[in-house]
């Protein structure tokens, strides 16, 4: 289990937990950062700037502070759903049914 800030870009991860109970944590949950859903860090702005995070149905710009943590784990792809060699990018596409 790792935090959202540390994962590589363009790889889908599964959200395990959003810790913290302030307004920020609440808003994150309302935007769909809930356990079990998939998220991908699309890009990170340089010099410690925000990151763009794609959820299944929407995309947000996000910069977290130390009081809120998003814990994620790697997504294990079902072998029979995705052929070996298919790019990870395709997996996210399948997971975003209506425009992200």
């Amino acid at each position: 289990m790792v935090t959202l800030q540390t994962i590589p870009v363009n790889e889908p991860y599964r959200i395990v937990r959003v810790s913290g109970d302030g307004a920020m944590a609440q808003r994150l949950r309302e935007l769909g950062f809930i356990p079990g859903s998939t998220c991908t860090v699309v890009r990170r702005a340089p010099f410690g700037g925000p990151m763009e995070v794609a959820l299944e149905r929407r995309t947000v710009g996000l910069r977290l502070t130390s009081d809120v943590q998003i814990l994620v784990e790697p997504l294990t792809l079902d072998a029979d759903l995705f052929c070996i060699g298919e790019s990870v990018r395709t997996a996210t596409d399948v997971n975003s049914p209506v425009a992200a």
Binding site: P50, G61, L62, T65, S66
Partner: protein, 614 residues
């Protein structure tokens, strides 16, 4: 139900305001509720002689508010707001592109016991991507009426208007979940509804590709700088022909009055007091309109959220976050809408710091002062043969204002509003074409506001100043030319007495009594400086073809001109801005502090400039 009130509710970025604009058209105004810091728009829809009142409430995600404007919506919906009546029903706006958040919100709203109707926007976008949205199926399962609309094209609006006024279309739904349901349970329920009633279309590759370029650290930043350059460039170049047209029209009116009325006080009052005063301000209507047009278009097409992302890191240098960019950018048009849009910043301290910086962004009211003074005192030479010195000075004034505003925010964040680092969170809406009608209606609303100020506050001050310059009447030697006669009159007027009394305060800055009087009159609204200078220098006296700029060029030294410019960069000379600061912060403390800080800075900057330049 007699004149039922319907609250228009939705999550942010679903096209709620566009739909509200399309439904109510020109039948809308800012709601006037006592003691309300957030002013919702109120409009009306009439169908078959039945009128329904619509109130456009700020967007919410749930019934647990995290900011001021969300609290307003929740209080109103629960019937707990002290001055806004509880609505009779809810029109929920859902985006077909992202119905999940909206269903989550619906699951909470359904427990309020109010009748609900749903308007589904952007169904066309889903269909175009090959997806499906089964509105009938969802309608049956939810137990409320559901109307697909394409706000931008006006499709389905007729049906919705009809439904709004027919009682049979309103149902109080059964809440699908208990009020105590967790956010996870609500998402699980929404997910079930979506699987059952929608089918996914192709992913929005256009938005993804655009983001890859527009959010790119290098290309995105370059594009951002180009957009900002075009933004400011177009405000000046597009507005110019329109401004000249208005000036011609006012000059025409003035000369028509001059040739049709006998010389005397009445004519002077109409041409100088009324037309001169209001005319010199109405000239700026095109600039204000274009600036508002550009901000609205950038916001509606989805770019403003990306711009906030791009500048978040840079804003962090000043203790602010990306969202602060939106109120600050708006303040280049006018600090009032800028301060109001600071509500999108959830944290109170961050919002305050941003609000305190807004009056230093160069608003369009400063522009006429800058244009006049730069035109008068800065030589029309070119730097390196290409850059106009006048243009460079203007750009310098904009940068000085913006940078100083940000430094004030930083100073406040380090002292009064000390706190931890601010987080940043903004949703990226899919890119879309803005609705012409919605943008147009926003324009009309803004120009009405502006003209109301010009027609009341500025007219009143212009008349007061006219009286001060005409009283007491001086003995005019009949051998004097009209220009000389006007100067004799001014020198002996009450205005001159007033200017001379206050002038010692501004003497270290190089201001004479005429400039002092102009600066004093600016404390009502900055742009009155131009009309005041016109009256004081008696430039538009009959028989004198010399425009005000030339008169100033002849009588104002460069050092004084620069000193006045420096003063205007900092001074908070706008009663309306202070009033709105008071309203948005809930205390006179903050406008008073802003006034004090900016006055000290203005005085010091003008003094330094004067000393260095002379």
């Amino acid at each position: 139900m007699n004149r039922p009130i319907v609250a228009v509710v939705g999550t942010p970025n679903v096209g709620k305001s566009t739909l509200f604009n399309v439904l109510t058209g020109l039948q809308q105004k800012v709601g006037n509720f006592p003691g309300v810091t957030v002013e919702p728009m109120v409009g009306s829809v009439t169908y078959d002689q039945r009128t329904t009142t619509l109130i456009d409430l700020p967007g919410i995600y749930s019934l647990a508010p995290t900011s001021e404007d969300e609290r307003l919506t929740v209080d109103v919906l629960r019937g707990q707001h002290p001055s806004i009546e509880r609505p009779d029903a809810i029109l929920l706006v859902m985006s077909a592109v992202d119905p999940e958040k909206c269903l989550v919100l619906y699951s909470a709203l359904a427990g309020l016991g109010l009748p609900i109707m749903i308007a589904v926007t952007m169904v066309d976008a889903v269909k175009a991507a090959g997806g499906g949205f089964d509105d009938i199926g969802m309608m049956h399962e939810l137990g409320v009426q559901l109307y697909p609309v394409v706000g931008r094209k006006g499709l389905g609006v007729g049906d919705l208007t009809h439904a709004l006024s027919s009682q049979a279309a309103w149902n109080v739904p059964m809440a699908p979940l208990s009020d105590a349901a967790s956010i996870e349970e609500r998402f699980a329920w929404a997910e079930k509804m979506i699987t059952r009633h929608t089918s996914p279309g192709a992913p929005d590759r256009a938005t993804r590709r655009l983001d890859a370029a527009l959010l790119h650290p290098v290309w995105g930043t370059l594009i951002f700088l180009v957009v900002m350059a075009l933004f400011f460039q177009s405000i000046f170049t597009w507005a110019e022909p329109l401004m000249e047209l208005i000036e011609l029209g006012i000059a025409g009116l003035q000369s028509a009055l001059e040739s049709s009325m006998p010389d005397g006080l009445a004519r002077s009052f109409l041409t100088k007091g009324v037309l001169g005063g209001v005319g010199s301000v109405i000239v700026f209507l095109p600039q204000i309109l274009i600036l508002n047009l550009l901000v609205t278009v950038l916001e509606e097409c989805g770019y403003l959220a990306r711009a906030a992302f791009l500048v978040d890191r840079a804003m962090g240098l000043f203790g602010l976050q990306g969202r602060s960019f939106i109120p600050l950018l708006g303040s280049f048009a006018c600090a009032i809408p800028g301060i109001m849009s600071a509500r999108i910043i959830p944290n109170y301290k961050d919002r305050l710091a941003t609000i305190m910086a807004t009056p230093l962004m160069t608003c369009s009211a400063r522009l006429p002062v800058y244009t006049l003074l730069i035109g008068a005192v800065i030589p029309g030479t070119y730097l390196f043969g290409v850059i106009s010195l006048k243009g460079a000075v203007l750009a310098g004034l904009y940068v000085a204002g913006a940078l100083s505003g940000l430094l004030i925010a930083l100073f406040l964040k380090k002292t009064l509003f000390r706190g931890s680092v601010v987080p940043f969170l903004i949703e990226f809406p899919p890119y879309r074409l803005p609705s012409l009608k919605s943008v147009g209606l926003t324009m009309v609303g803004r120009s009405k506001d502006f003209l109301r100020t010009a027609g009341t506050v500025i007219l009143a001050f212009s008349i007061v100043l006219w009286v001060l310059t005409e009283v007491p009447r001086a003995e005019i030697d009949s051998s004097l030319t009209p220009v000389e006669a006007a100067n004799v009159q001014i020198e002996q007027s009450l205005a001159a007495d007033l200017g001379r009394t206050v002038q010692p305060i501004f003497a270290p800055l190089g201001f004479d009594w005429k400039i002092t009087l102009g600066v004093l009159s600016s404390y009502a609204a900055r742009e009155t400086f131009v009309s005041a200078m016109g009256q004081i220098y008696a430039a538009d006296v009959e028989g004198s073809d010399e425009p005000l700029r030339e008169v100033l060029a002849a009588s104002m030294p460069l050092s004084v001109g620069l000193s006045v410019l420096a003063f205007y960069v900092y001074a908070l000379q706008c009663v309306s801005t202070m009033a709105i600061m008071r309203r948005e912060t809930g205390s006179w403390k903050w406008p008073a502090l802003a006034f004090a800080i900016t006055f000290v800075l203005a005085y010091l900057a003008a003094w330094l400039t004067f000393v260095l330049a002379s």
